[in-house]
Symmetry: C2
Subunit: 327 residues, 2 copies
């Protein structure tokens, strides 16, 4: 929602914080760190904050905000192939967020704890004279040496994505009255996809050993594929004709084909983008069928650098680095 | 700095968040959770946020803010007897916090990483249209089953505190022009104690096996002793005549004896408050000597409930629950 006055998040992290990162931190390039866990496991650690007015709207239901805060972190764990274990929470709330707000917020967490099999480990609450600032650190476990990193992609890999793309970004446009969607069911679908990510924790846990590299799509398909390719030292090619779209997104693009840019760069999808060797394509399809998850092959990994987006006629689309940057 | 419009932090946590806590979370009563670690260790997890205008002043140097953010969390680890390992960081910064601010902030972290032997594991940065909101989750390790909890105090234990008390709270009064300190060296001492906690990580690591219960003093001596006593099901007695004071605090109290209330309840000390069996008193003194740390016996643990503060003539002082509450 906000555009960068200075640096992109990644440049900022690189310049100031990468030198502070320990060996466990994967150079801060993986949105998660790995440290030794018990019984031949590793613990996967990740942290993300949601800021009112930047990542959610003041009018969003507190229940949805709580679940979004938790789920954006669970999505990072899912990308690594980790089983979620628990989380720490820090809340800075303005005085306008009253007892009713807190009751709804904690009810949202309680429901998600059951759904994802995790528990609150600790945290802190305080006042803020400004927008609500919510931060969550999540911990998961993975068998030692089996985490799926951003850096594992090889030229020749096929590129896959879970679910459908662009719904959340289109939903945000609806909420901001930048997009008119006549069908109420379509509108509800897009808005709910913006408000409430569906982290692919089951798929992530099961693609361990099959996926060569993975990332969850939070900044937008093009930007996050860019991060994966940069970490792996490869190039990525996306075919727009293959992008998985919901009925609602398909209808919106039929009315305004330029919205394909929103699908490619809009962010907040919280789908998994992963690569696998061509010989694994049957196993990927079988896994998706077995889990009842939508998984779509959308392109290829090649030698080189950068991301290319091909339009249906095979020509390259200019999308730029795309992606969503908070600064 | 801010006084509660609604609920105290602990009541708020109890009502809404305690039901969400997993078994590892120690009922959210210990400011840290314990989960299984590698090789017969446990990992200690804690998270705290600092909010501009609540926990630090907009004019505080960025280097000090960074180190305070890290150190308040290291202080929680120290209380548990844990060795610090790493941390996750989320920053929400207004556009007024420019590149120079970030450079100083990260330099402060870099210096403390060396001092405390830890590294950044990951995190996130974003924009906020309001005061800076900084959250940090810290991870430490302790031998399995050896963490020092709040709940281990027994009637008969002696009560100890590290360092000196009240300096930070008096320093905040100086910064807010609520207190005049004629001696510039005294003023500098008090202000630097407010701006920059000195977490007792070495003492904490070494009192494992000796301390029966411990807590770090962030909310104020009386409030935090209250938390320890509540978790242990015991009563605490403090003798004000025994409170360890710096020269600067002693001079301030000589000028205005009512400031003893600030020493007892002011908060931000980040000293360790711990109990040990009377038979361990020699070992406690020897440990302090060996480490070159100031450790002072300030009272007793008794059967019962609540905290009693005795004035030098042996009468009970009325201090109330004291303590600092963010809401």
């Amino acid at each position: 929602m906000a555009k960068p006055p200075h640096l992109g998040e990644f440049e900022r992290i690189a310049r100031y914080f990468a030198p502070l990162a320990g060996e466990d931190a994967l150079g801060l390039k993986d949105d998660a760190a790995l440290i030794a866990g018990p019984n031949d496991t590793q613990l996967v650690l990740t942290a993300d904050a949601l800021i009112e007015g930047v990542h959610f709207l003041p009018t969003d239901p507190p229940r949805d905000i709580a679940q979004k805060l938790l789920r954006v972190n669970l999505s990072d764990l899912a990308a690594k192939g980790a089983r979620p274990q628990g989380y720490l929470l820090t809340l800075a709330l303005p005085s306008t967020h009253d007892e009713a707000w807190l009751a709804e917020f904690s009810a949202g967490l309680a429901a998600d704890q059951k759904q994802y099999g995790i528990a609150l480990l600790g945290g802190d609450s305080s006042r803020i004279d400004g927008p609500a600032a919510l931060s969550l650190a999540a911990i998961g476990t993975v068998d030692a040496g089996r985490a799926v990193l951003r850096s594992g992609a090889k030229a020749g890999d096929w590129l896959y994505v879970s679910g459908t793309l662009g719904d959340a970004a289109l939903g945000l446009k609806v909420l901001r009255s930048d997009l008119t969607v006549p069908d109420p069911a379509h509108r509800d679908h897009l808005v709910s996809r913006y408000r409430l990510p569906q982290p692919r924790t089951v798929l992530g846990r099961h693609y361990v050993g099959l996926a060569a590299a993975a990332i969850d799509i939070s900044d937008g398909l093009v930007a996050d594929l860019g991060h994966l390719c940069e970490a792996s030292g490869v190039a990525g090619v996306i075919e727009t004709a293959r992008l998985p779209l919901s009925d609602a997104a398909r209808a919106a693009l039929a009315a305004d084909p330029a919205l394909v840019e929103t699908v490619l760069t809009g962010g907040d999808d919280y789908e998994l983008l992963f690569t696998a060797m061509p010989t694994a394509s049957g196993a990927v399809a079988e896994l998706a069928r077995h889990l009842g998850e939508q998984v779509t092959e959308i392109g290829r990994i090649e030698a080189g650098r950068g991301v290319t987006v091909l339009s249906p006629d095979g020509s390259a689309l200019a999308v730029g680095k795309g992606g969503y940057s908070h600064f």
